[in-house]
Symmetry: C2
């Protein structure tokens, strides 16, 4: 299967490329700036806000399946510039779909949306299913819902085979340290290497979220891209507090640390608990998460422990 991964240089993109290669796909990658180590010969630069550049990538790679992961994915970054977020996440997605459609209506496009589109969930609505009401409440989630509207338009008109994935929080080795699990693990690794005092800075610890492993998530992506289309929630199906994530990482690190709440890290009012049902993905494509939470945390800590070690050696 000829697959094109747009946004391949990111955290998830890298795992997806690796998984597709393992499954025997012929993989092409589009990235804005960085290169993809695993694809030295089939990585091309692309700026999805530019229709011409997007068209060239798609014409060149002639994919049967497109995985569209490109976009602004960090909530505060989206919050600070809505116009740019619209340009990248919404107009960019429209460019991808239009250029794919111009090549062939037979292309299957998997659009990576986000569980954030559900927004302000009420406790009675848990677990979140695909038909739970959508109440996007920040610029990032608005932009993702808006991009979904564009995808739905193409899907309805039969202009492409489209699938929408709504992943909940996913974690794993290599994730940017702006995200909570990586951030805690990075701080712990620095403490372990004696590069920081044994004090961990944290924000809110009460929020309960649905954490799954990125390696489970990319496996779902390939299954969904070969499905007949639709919308699919992806997650572990279990709520875990940030406190539990913190405790798990501290346990893995075997360190004794003091935990300090940093006002700068406290987010505004948040939904206290979010978790999904992955029943639809299970029944339609047979997917379920396989990697235990503790395994994810151990791998994340290990990643940062090695990386901080390398930095010190350099």
């Amino acid at each position: 299967m000829r697959a094109l991964v747009i946004g391949a240089a990111g955290f998830v993109g890298n795992y997806l490329v690796k998984h597709l290669l393992e499954q025997g796909d012929e993989v092409y990658a589009g990235t804005l700036s960085e290169s993809v180590e695993l694809l030295p010969d089939t990585t091309f630069k692309v700026d999805i806000t530019d229709a011409l550049s997007t068209g060239e990538l798609i014409q060149r790679s002639k994919p049967q399946v497109i995985y569209h992961l490109a976009g602004i994915s960090f909530v505060p970054e989206a919050e600070s510039d809505f116009e740019r977020t619209l340009r990248v996440n919404v107009a960019g997605t429209a460019n991808v779909l239009r250029q794919a459609h111009l090549l062939s209506k037979e292309i299957s496009v998997l659009f990576i949306s986000s569980a954030e589109v559900y927004g302000q969930i009420k406790p009675a609505e848990l677990p979140i299913k695909e038909d739970t009401p959508l109440r996007p409440a920040n610029n990032y989630s608005l932009s993702k819902r808006m991009a979904e509207l564009v995808v739905e338009r193409y899907a309805r008109q039969g202009a492409l085979r489209c699938t929408i994935a709504r992943p909940f929080n996913h974690i794993g080795p290599g994730q940017d340290s702006r995200f909570v699990a990586s951030n805690f693990a990075y701080q712990l690794a620095r403490i372990a290497h004696g590069r920081a005092p044994a004090v961990l800075q944290v924000g809110n610890l009460e929020a309960r979220r649905d954490f799954s492993d990125v390696r489970d998530i990319v496996r779902a992506y390939r299954l969904l891209a070969h499905s007949q289309g639709g919308v699919f929630n992806l997650g572990a199906g279990v709520p875990r507090s940030i406190q539990a994530l913190l405790d798990g990482l501290i346990a893995v690190s075997e360190l004794k640390v003091e935990v300090q709440q940093d006002p700068a890290r406290m987010r505004g009012p948040e939904v206290p608990e979010l978790y999904t049902s992955y029943e639809r993905a299970k029944s339609v494509v047979g997917w379920q998460p396989l990697i235990p939470f503790e395994q994810s945390l151990a791998d994340i800590y290990q990643y940062w422990y090695e990386r901080v070690g390398l930095e010190l050696a350099a």
Copy 2:
């Protein structure tokens, strides 16, 4: 009541300003370029894609009610540049809401959306109500639905009092001649003045739409802006074919003309019939359309007849 009309120089904006003044409101206007004749002292330039400019307008006029009409409203114009449409219709609306919210949470904002957000309606779904599924199918309707998402976010958070109007096709003297009723009337007026052969160029005549008079619509806007919020469809509640509109205008003109279908005017596949129920607006704010269809057509023809006459005299 201190009212601010953003996008006041347009077809609907002019009628709205006139109506608000008649009702005794203190009216301020924001316009991108043109001035508003009726408000020589309280018209300010504004570019809603610029947060600073939008903020200045709102701080200066300190409105209790904002009527947000500004945006790209011609479907083909939106189709040709999605990125610009997002910038104006979506990011622009976000700027208006944010700047209003910064001034006061007590401001009532009426966002003028469009019946186009319903998109691909099935015959069994007629008449269209406010909870009819939304299937926006072009860049214009997508942008309007996206802007609604932004408005809904502010409304849910109690950050402003927000109302959304979804007007169906509205017509009246002064509408741009790119729109069908004005276009036919303009052609007829030229024929009547002997400036064109007695041949009328038309596109599809079969589509049935819900045509109401702009003067009824702006009356609804004021009523809705003083309501408790929500989404409201506005229309005549009756489907009329483009053919009926054409026949009505020809009758008013008392001309004998040949009707020619122009391939360049034929739109792609369209929904054959669209009309609304205005029950909600009637029951919540007591609104109903009052101006008969024939009156609208007579006034439109009269407008173009005089205007073509003036152009010839000039």
